[in-house]
């Protein structure tokens, strides 16, 4: 089955993150100097500008900070998904990331809902970290 939605153009900063996702882990950079995580992955820490960074497997648990329900798709490739929830997730470890909340009831999602990561395979190269409401 071909995948016709946009795919990430993976680069040197992000390759370990996407490699981990493909293996079912959420790995994000942790700064060896200031001890803070960040997202999206960069070559220097946005908190203290250190370049001593290690990818760290995080819990995959977080909270919905805000979201939109796309009722008009972001291009024809997403037409079959409508309505779908694109959300900003605050990870337990601190960073905020964009993802999908996968749910059969988009209108049942609320700010503050607890979520946990799931992994959705797109292609042999790319698996996306999505989130589902925590039970």
């Amino acid at each position: 089955m071909s995948y016709d939605k946009p795919l990430p153009v993976i680069d040197h900063d992000s390759a370990p993150y996407w490699d981990a996702a493909r293996e079912g882990r959420l790995d994000i950079p942790l700064c060896d100097d200031c001890g803070k995580h960040h997202f999206y992955p960069r070559a220097v820490c946005p908190h203290c500008f250190s370049d001593k960074l290690t990818f760290d497997t995080v819990s995959g648990r977080g909270t919905v900070h805000t979201f939109t329900i796309a009722t008009r798709p972001a291009g024809p490739a997403f037409a079959d998904d409508v309505p779908y929830v694109v959300a900003l997730i605050d990870l337990e470890e601190g960073p905020r990331m964009m993802s999908r909340v996968k749910t059969d009831d988009p209108y049942g999602v609320n700010i503050g809902d607890k979520v946990e990561v799931i992994f959705v395979k797109a292609t042999d190269e790319v698996t996306f970290p999505y989130f589902k409401l925590a039970v």
């Binding site: 939605k5 946009p6 795919l7 990430p8 153009v9 993976i10 680069d11 992000s14 997202f39 999206y40 900070h65 805000t66 979201f67 939109t68 329900i69 796309a70 009722t71 008009r72 798709p73 972001a74 291009g75 997403f78 998904d81 309505p83 779908y84 694109v86 900003l88 905020r96 990331m97 964009m98 993802s99 999908r100 700010i111 797109a122 790319v126 996306f128």
Partner: protein, 393 residues
């Protein structure tokens, strides 16, 4: 006159539209040239006088892409000695006014031309979502984020969550802006609009409806700036640039520092007002970028016209409509007049015309001081300009 090198606006022009499309037939560069010529002629200047060129846009050429000042300079047949192609989104032209003001004060140029043109409506080319998901966008585009409306929708939902702001509050802005458009013969949308119409319009990116979103039109505009000394011999009523500020915080929406508060607007607005030596009560007419209704509400709060969370109350009861207490977006704004991709140019043109007293049925009586605030990207950048009728005392 305080200083002969005080920066002033001496010419403005915008291209006529019909149904949101250019009336005249020209390329996008041609439309830039036509409005530039008109703005210069209004002041009694010619292209030969221009030694500063500032432009940006969504068009580009093969290879380098957006070398906009170089390409436009060639088309106009000029070799400027000061150039600025700053692109921070739709607020770029407020930043261009700031940069031209600094160059004029420093003696780095004498006549600065700021130009913008877009034929997006005629070309049907508004397809930002179709670009490859590179760099920071690899972490947003693949999730089907509607661009740019999705980020504004996320901010609106967060503001609703924190402060109880409602869709009805946002609709007040769209309706008041339409009433201004009905007084502007050049505005694209003239039909009556009610709060129910806005709230019942198609949901695009929940909680934002179709009529919370700006228009998609063509458009071209130009501004000519020079020094107070030079302006004394020109044909138009000069409008002084008294203060300015600019900032930006993020491109990826996940990196927006605070989804319910516009930090770049707060920084830019504070600096501009302090530089100008004005307070909120000095402002007679306000032009705020209205890409979406929520953009206006967040900007009003960040600029200090009301406290955080009070934006909904501030715009309620049609307070910003003609005859209301707060004259806002008097051309009909991006929501109802025109929105050719980067609207900040047209906020400045309308403010200048208001201060000259050129606005006919929509003229704000005795308008002497204007605040113009642009927003660009997905609530990414903010740039503020304070304008005053006449030369600075």
């Amino acid at each position: 006159m305080k200083n002969g090198r005080d920066p002033v606006i001496v010419g403005v022009a915008d291209a006529p539209l019909e149904g949101g499309r250019f009336v005249k037939q020209a390329s996008v560069l041609g439309h830039c040239a036509l409005v530039a010529k008109e703005a210069l002629e209004e002041a009694g200047l010619s292209m030969k006088d221009v030694d500063g060129l500032l432009t940006t846009g969504m068009w580009g050429v093969p290879g380098p892409g957006q070398l906009t000042t170089v390409t436009l300079g060639e088309y106009l047949g000029i070799m400027p000695m000061f150039v600025d192609g700053t692109n921070i989104g739709g607020s770029a032209f407020e930043a261009h006014v700031a940069h031209a003001a600094m160059a004029l004060r420093a003696g780095y140029c004498e006549v600065a031309l700021i130009v913008y043109g877009s034929d997006q409506k005629s070309l049907r080319s508004r397809t930002l979502g179709g670009r490859a998901a590179v760099l920071n966008m690899q972490h947003e585009t693949p999730y089907g984020m509607p661009t740019p409306v999705g980020g504004y929708a996320m901010a609106a939902r967060r503001h609703m969550h924190e402060y109880g702001t409602t869709s009805e509050n946002l609709a007040e802005i769209a309706v008041a802006t339409r009433k201004w458009a009905q007084l502007n013969p050049a505005a694209t949308r003239q039909d009556d609009l009610s709060i129910d119409d806005v709230m019942n319009s198609t949901m695009i990116s929940d909680p934002l409806h179709l009529l919370d979103c700006c228009l998609v039109t063509d458009g071209a505009g130009a501004i000519v700036m020079t020094t107070a000394e030079r302006a004394k011999d020109l044909k138009t009523t000069p409008v002084s640039v008294k203060g300015y500020g600019e900032s930006h915080s993020h491109w990826a929406v996940s990196e927006m520092p605070d989804l319910a508060h516009l930090l770049p607007a707060a920084k830019a607005g504070k600096r501009a007002m302090e530089m100008a030596g004005v307070t909120h009560s000095d402002i007679d007419v306000t032009q705020i970028y209205d890409s979406f209704t929520i953009t206006v509400l967040l900007s009003l709060e960040a600029l200090g016209f009301c406290k955080p969370g009070e934006g909904g109350a501030f715009v309620s009861g049609q307070r910003t409509a003609p005859g209301g207490e707060f004259a806002l977006n008097t051309s009909g704004g991006g929501l109802s007049a025109l929105h050719p991709g980067m609207f900040g140019m047209f906020l400045l043109i309308e403010a200048t015309r208001q201060l000259r007293g050129d606005c006919g049925a929509r003229q704000v009586k005795d308008a002497e001081t204007a605040l113009v605030h642009g927003t660009g990207g997905t609530l990414s950048s903010g740039a503020t300009v304070i304008l005053q009728k006449g030369l600075m005392a």
